[in-house]
């Protein structure tokens, strides 16, 4: 009995398996998608997801699907073409560049609307149990670059000799340089290299001119982090970096402002160029290391996929990005009032973007 039922069971599953194959091959002619599909940056993901949830709760449209693929991967998917199988929007923690826009155009995605949704500060933070520290971006560059200009002759590069903060400047504490940050695959790392390392680098005139002449060489000199233990790649997960600097007072961590905001009980921001990283200083663009965050919208999908216009309106509404909005409460630094009005008008009129 058991034997027979077992073999019958197998036969049955063979049949259902074959049926599934048929179903899956006919699934190619998929029906129209009735929810918005968004891909892209993991930094923008929590905010876009928050808006998606609020938007879905209102009940007039389905909750949009938000994928966390990273900025580059997201834009690639977004630019793959027009049609329901391609995403409608892309989150980006930097501006779409000309090369990406060309790919978009080649695949038929000619009209793209850019929506700036706010700013993110790249902060340096230290445990509250350690002594507060104030840095300039030049000092950060000296602490973390693999090669620095020789102090006796600044046109020659030499390996980074500094092991303690006090080696860089007498006023800094005599503590070993140890900074935990993201690996090169992360968008936060790109922004850090641009906002801190480049800024420090460009205080040397010949490096500043090199930037225009040989950008590749400039990036190699200025973006390369030291590998002798001063800079520790602590993984993509920002929560992990937070835990590690809590366990290791004296070490600095690099992450997005929302993590500092959420962990304000145990962490303290490092003053950079005389400005503390706070909600207000980043919003007022006083804090030197902040980057804009974007959402890109595919114009051809508006009207095909229901709710795109309404979703963008929700994103830019007072309820989300206003001073007491739910996105501001979660650590997104909104565009200024004037910017917001311009953005609302631009997005409503579907002003197309050119890089």
């Amino acid at each position: 009995m058991i034997k027979q039922s077992l073999s019958r069971c197998l036969l049955l599953s063979v049949v259902t398996g074959a049926a599934m194959l048929v179903v899956s091959s006919t699934a190619t002619a998929q029906s129209a998608r009735d929810y918005i599909s968004i891909v892209g940056s993991s930094t923008v993901y929590p905010f876009t997801a928050m808006v998606a949830e609020q938007f879905g709760r209102r009940g007039s449209f389905k909750t949009p699907k938000v994928e966390s693929t990273g900025t580059g991967g997201g834009i690639k998917l977004f630019c793959n073409g027009v049609g329901v199988q391609h995403p409608d929007m892309a989150n980006a923690s930097r501006r779409m560049n000309a090369g990406e826009f060309d790919t978009c155009k080649r695949n038929g995605v000619t009209d793209v609307v850019e929506m700036k949704v706010g700013y993110d500060g790249i902060v340096l933070a230290i445990s509250k149990s350690a002594k507060p520290i104030k840095l300039t971006r030049k000092q950060v560059y000296f602490a973390l670059a693999k090669q620095i200009p020789d102090p006796s002759n600044t046109s020659i590069m030499m390996p980074n000799p500094y092991t303690k903060w006090s080696d860089i400047d007498k006023s800094l504490p005599a503590v070993k340089i140890e900074v935990l940050g993201p690996p090169p695959t992360s968008g936060t790392r790109d922004s850090f290299a641009e906002l801190y390392m480049e800024a420090g680098c460009r205080t040397f005139p010949w490096l500043n001119t090199l930037r225009g002449l040989d950008e590749k060489r400039f990036k190699r000199i200025c973006h390369t982090m030291r590998e002798d233990g001063g800079y520790v790649e602590a993984g993509e997960n920002d929560n992990l970096i937070v835990q590690k600097i809590n366990a290791n007072p004296g070490a600095l961590g690099i992450f997005g402002f929302s993590y500092l905001d959420e962990n304000s009980a145990t962490l303290r921001g490092v003053e950079v160029d005389g400005v503390m990283p706070t909600f207000e200083t980043i919003a007022a663009t006083q804090y030197p290391a902040s980057r804009p965050l974007f959402v890109y919208i595919k114009k051809a999908h508006i009207g095909v996929i229901p709710g795109i216009k309404e979703y963008t309106a929700e994103y830019l509404s007072e309820k989300s990005l206003g001073a007491e909005g739910y996105l501001s409460a979660r650590g997104l630094i909104p565009p200024t009032k004037g910017e917001l009005t311009g953005l609302r008008a631009g997005v409503a009129a579907l002003k197309t973007f050119t890089p």
Binding site: K3, E53, Q85, A265, R330
Partner: protein, 437 residues
């Protein structure tokens, strides 16, 4: 004779002493070897315990959740000023205003925008949704007064679960001193209750920790595994039967296939994700993030494992069974279906379940096909977008909000439970049906 004894006597004694000495050495070696083994086992057990301790210590509290009792007045002027009871009007009404009004009635001394915002911060932003659901289900509530238990906010839950103390600084508590006083007043009125956290198991994802649940991910995992099982088991079993029973033995083609299957079992899983992206989504145009595509990719991933396990199970059936069947006049197919397969089935099922358990824990290939996503709605079918349990763990672990620490560990507990059930069923199947020769 005696001479002989004299010459051999000491030699036997010597030998004996030598053996005696060597026995000691051998015992010592054996003890050492055993100690190594014991040490290795203990180390393994220790790490498992550490894992369980770390997960359960952070996640045990997930099974409870605090609720706040609100005395809600379903004000017709707020919900339905025109009095038409139009579902669209009711759906888009300002339910947050009811929550605010109800809390304010409890604390009439609260004044000013800031204080009011702090007061409404005691309950979850999901409270208004709960009221909306109640009214939509039963519009006769409008104009009446009713008690509603709504979710407390994540910060309140965190404090009441003892994760932080009342004496901590406002920064650390993330609740202001005023909020703590109100909370104490509510507790004194018995308006706060800890209940079993049912919605953690039924709700989909949310950006509010107190509203987020593993229901969507659990359904996604089940649907994905169902597709995987229905495809990979029959295909794997059929391939194994063909290779063991029908394929011409030891030709170059058979060898080639065998080598390739073994190789495939060792290919990193992300490669299958890329394959799935280009074939199922790129070429066949299936929808991104659908459990169907996830199941297809995981089928590719588990097939080699299932084929190898099934072949081993078929090989273990003694040739005498086949010879007897063929000798009694059974055809080759009858021999396989009636005799070999039923005997090999327990082993094949065990292989399939172990393959499924591996598929359950995969995240890397799913990243490529869009299943690492924020999805609120619980999937209803295999074409719906969904995420799976390990992906949910990954997404929550990366969230800045503190309340997600507990959720992450809770999701890991659910995942471990799922795995234990699957592996236990593999053991039970084997013990129940396996035949030893």
């Amino acid at each position: 004779m005696s001479d002989l004894e004299l010459t051999t006597g000491p030699t036997t004694a010597q030998t004996r002493a030598k053996v005696q000495a060597s026995i000691k050495r051998r015992y010592r070696a054996e003890m050492r070897f055993r100690a190594y083994g014991l040490f290795a086992t203990m180390l393994g057990v220790l790490f498992v315990f550490l894992l369980f301790f770390s997960v359960f210590s952070k996640g045990w509290s997930i099974f409870g959740q605090h609720y706040v009792k609100l005395d809600v007045f379903y004000d017709a002027a707020v919900l339905d000023p025109s009095g038409t009871r139009n579902p669209d009007t009711l759906r888009s009404a300002d339910y947050q205003a009811l929550v605010r009004a109800s809390l304010r009635a409890g604390f009439p001394t609260v004044e000013g925008r800031r204080e009011l915002r702090e007061l409404t911060g005691l309950v979850s932003s999901g409270a208004s949704m709960q009221l909306q659901r109640a009214v939509m289900q039963n519009p006769t509530l409008i104009g009446t007064r009713d008690d509603q238990w709504v979710l407390a906010s994540s910060q309140v839950d965190w404090l009441l679960k003892g994760r932080t103390t009342r004496n901590a600084s406002e920064d650390e508590r993330r609740l202001s001193d005023a909020q703590v006083t109100w909370l104490d007043a509510l507790q004194a009125d018995q308006c706060i209750e800890r209940r079993f956290n049912k919605q953690f198991f039924t709700a989909g994802d949310s950006r509010d920790p107190e509203l987020a649940g593993v229901g969507g991910a659990l359904a996604g995992s089940l649907l994905t595994l169902l597709v995987t099982l229905l495809l990979s088991f029959p295909i794997g079993a059929a391939a194994a039967i063909y290779l063991e029973e029908f394929a011409p033995p030891e030709t170059r083609v058979t060898d080639l296939i065998e080598v390739n299957i073994n190789n495939l079992a060792a290919v990193p899983s992300i490669v299958f994700g890329l394959l799935g992206l280009s074939i199922f989504i790129g070429f066949f145009g299936m929808p991104r993030s659908a459990t169907l595509v996830g199941g297809l990719v995981l089928t590719l991933l588990t097939l080699p494992t299932i084929i190898i396990a099934s072949r081993a199970a078929i090989k273990a059936v003694p040739p005498s069974i086949r010879e007897a069947a063929l000798g009694m006049g059974a055809s080759k197919i009858q021999c396989v279906v009636h005799h070999v397969l039923p005997l090999a089935m327990p082993g094949m099922l065990t292989g399939a379940i172990i393959g499924m358990a591996r598929a359950l824990g995969e995240t890397a290939p799913l990243l490529m096909i869009g299943m690492v996503a924020f999805i609120v709605d619980v999937p209803q079918g295999i074409m719906d977008p969904a995420t799976v349990l390990p992906v949910q763990v990954f997404l929550w672990a990366d969230s800045p909000e503190r309340g997600f620490i507990e959720r992450t560990s809770g999701a890991i507990i659910v995942l471990l439970l799922f795995l234990v059930i699957m592996n236990a069923s593999a053991v039970i199947l084997r013990n129940r049906f396996e035949k030893r020769w």
